[in-house]
Each structure stands twice: as C-alpha cells, then as structure tokens.
Assembly symmetry: C2
Homo-oligomer: 203 residues x 2
DNA sequence: GTCTATACGCAGATAGAC
DNA sequence: GTCTATCTGCGTATAGAC
C-alpha cells in the first residue's frame, strides 16, 4: 500500500475503527463518514447499506482471528511448543488491535449464525481442532503431560490470553493500573501464562 | 416476594432481561414493555427515560457481581481455600445469569466512568484487592506457593471462570458442543480449574 | 395507574445536481 | 465520484383520555 489510499480503502479503515469500538448497534454511519473524511451518501454509493458494510468488517475481523490459530495448530509438533508459540503470537495480535476480541465475541453473541456462515464458506477447515486434540491426547497417553481434556486446555489458553483484553477497563480500575502500568502488566503476562500452563501440565 | 409482583417489579425484571441480552444500544423500550406485559408509555411513567432505567439495571448488575467477591476476599484465610470457594461460587452465579458477564464487561467498556461512580458511592470498599494480595504475598514468602504476582493470579482466576460464558457461542461452535454438552463441559470445568490453578501454584 | 394517539428527533437511505 | 438536500422509518418521549 504505497500509494495514497483509495476512497474505498479509507471507508473500510474508518468503518473498522468505528464498528470495532462501538459494535454494530452502537456504530453510526455519520461517524464512519466523518472519520473517512467524506459524507454519508458516499458510504451508500460504495457499500449500499450499513449492514453490507458491517458484514465486510466482521468477515475481515474473523479472518484476522482464525487463520493464525489454524497455522499454529497444523504446524505444531508438541504441546509445549504450541503453547510457547500460541501465547505470545495471540497476545501480540490482540495488543495491536485492542478492540478486536470484544468486537468478535459480542457480534457472535448477537448473531451466532454469522460465524457459521463464514466457516462453511471456507475451502480448508478454518479451525482444525482435532489437530490440537490429538496432539494433547498423544502426550497424555505417553505420560508427557497430566491427563486433561483437550477442550478444557484449549479454553484455558484462550481465556488466559483474551480475558485481559475483554475486561481491560474493569481490570485497570480494580487493580488500579494506568495505561503504562497495564501495558507492563500485559508484557509480564505472556511469560506468566506460559509458566502457569506448562507447570500445571506436568504429570 | 410472596405476593404478585408489582408493575414496577415486572418492569425491572423485563428491563434486566432485555438490557442484559441486547445491551444498552441494542435494547428497545418496546421489547421491555412487551415482556413486562404493559405499554411503552408506562415505562416512562415509572422510570422517566431509557437512560434512567438502564442506570438502575446496570447498578443492580454490578451489585450482583462485586459483593460476592468482596465477601470471599475478606473472609478467606488462605489461598487454597479461597480458590476452592471462589471458583464454584462464581461459576454458579454466572450459570444462573448467563448474560451477566457479557453485559457488565461491555457496558463498562462503553462507559468506563460508570463503574467508578458506583464504587465511590459505596461506604465500605467494594473491592478490597489488598486482602487477596497480602494473602498471596504471605504464602509466597512462607514458601507455601510459588512466587507469583497477585494481580496475575487474580486475572488467571477471573479469566478461567468468566471466559467460557463470554465466548459461549464461539466455543460451542468451535468445539462443536450442543447446549447439553456445553453444560456438562461447564460442570467438569469447575474441578478442572481448581486443579489447574492449585497444581500450578505448587512451589 | 394504565391506556391510545401523537409529537419529535435521529439515523439510514435515496434523488439529483455537479 | 462526490456533494447537498431530502425522504422515510424507527425509537424515545409526551399529551391527554379514562
């Protein structure tokens, strides 16, 4: 993207910012237009309706989320390595887009079918949980890690990584952390999570 | 509450249901009126505006959330006991009100100041984090548990318990769990979390 | 207290000039 | 392609009868 962004690109960028911050119900077309430096009519000229525009942003957001997981899942050879790659990769992504997690989770809560539509639209399976699952089961069988339900372990990992981003304002208030302190808290958290999970998996 | 509920009570109950499911921006006064079995005008007669009504529901929700934590915090004598009480208590509460966590977190994200207003309105400190903090530090010092930042441990606990409720539709899709299976998953999760945390804290 | 009818403003969407 | 002006419907809120 070396040239100046086209109007369409500016709209997409503006829409992403507004939708992610406010959600579908809270977002205003006027805000998107203002942020893109154009007027409302032009939004409709390019994307027809708020709903259409939202679909695009939602889909793009999911596509930021899932493929990275997919890659790590199919490429990993053991649980320990998977954790050590997953945690920092995921947390860094969320750090760059602080509203991403909240947005996706909320909109899926409001329209559960939307995720399904996207997933079945993909050729290759976007979320090959079995890859992770069999990895875990193999190591449980060999005694490399303690017995654990792969679904529970998966939820542990996701929860530990994502939760601080979802609950950031609440946490920073309860723990009394300003912006800088919270960033540092997140920095330290990467190693802490890895340590937390791996020690708990010891047989 | 042995008598029939008053109109005011019916409105509050209806408003709670709608606001928790849809959020402030997504909720409709018409939906609340329908659910309460009255008409829109009566809502305004009792509560003046949507915003006023929302404030009440938001405040009540926070009051469901925090005092329980507070009680466990000040009453606990050691970390292990705290965890074993906190996890099932909290998860059971969330189970009874599945939308509570999502609602609170979202609305705090949209209006961070709102939480602060409520907390300072209280006489006694609603969230005595120091109680938990010193508990942890004492046991770290005595070697009962491994060294850990109390704030990180706190976030671990919250995240592990709350996340499955926040991400329920996403998880049930990715892990392919229907409603019954998801409930069972949550049942098993209580013990799993306790085990997960306590083993990881061993020195 | 509870209703019907209605006012009012906001936000999404369209028409049409340039 | 981009703008100004306008239409339309929806959602909050009020007026007023009962």
């Amino acid at each position: 993207m070396l040239q100046d962004p086209t109007t369409e690109e500016r709209i997409i960028a503006a829409a992403k910012a507004v939708f992610l911050e406010k959600g579908m119900a809270g977002a205003r077309m006027q805000d998107i237009a203002d942020r893109a430096g154009i007027n409302k009519a032009l939004l409709h000229y390019y994307f027809r309706s708020k709903d259409k525009l939202f679909q695009i942003i939602f889909q793009e957001s999911i596509q930021t989320f899932l493929p990275k997981i997919r890659m790590l899942m199919v490429e990993s050879t053991d649980v320990d390595q998977f954790i050590r790659q997953f945690v920092p990769t995921y947390m860094n992504m969320l750090r760059m887009q602080p509203y991403l997690a909240t947005f996706i989770i909320n909109e899926i809560n409001q329209h559960p079918a939307a995720l399904w539509d996207i997933m079945k639209g993909n050729e290759e399976k976007p979320f090959p949980f079995e890859a992770f699952s069999s990895l875990v089961e193999r190591e449980v069988a060999s005694g490399a890690i303690r017995p654990i339900d792969p679904r529970q372990l998966w939820t542990h990992m996701m929860g530990l990584c994502i939760f601080p981003f979802l609950a950031r304002p609440m946490l920073s208030m309860l723990l009394q952390l300003d912006a800088i302190q919270f960033d540092q808290f997140l920095d330290e958290r990467r190693e802490e999570i890895i340590h937390f999970i791996t020690t708990s998996l010891q047989p």
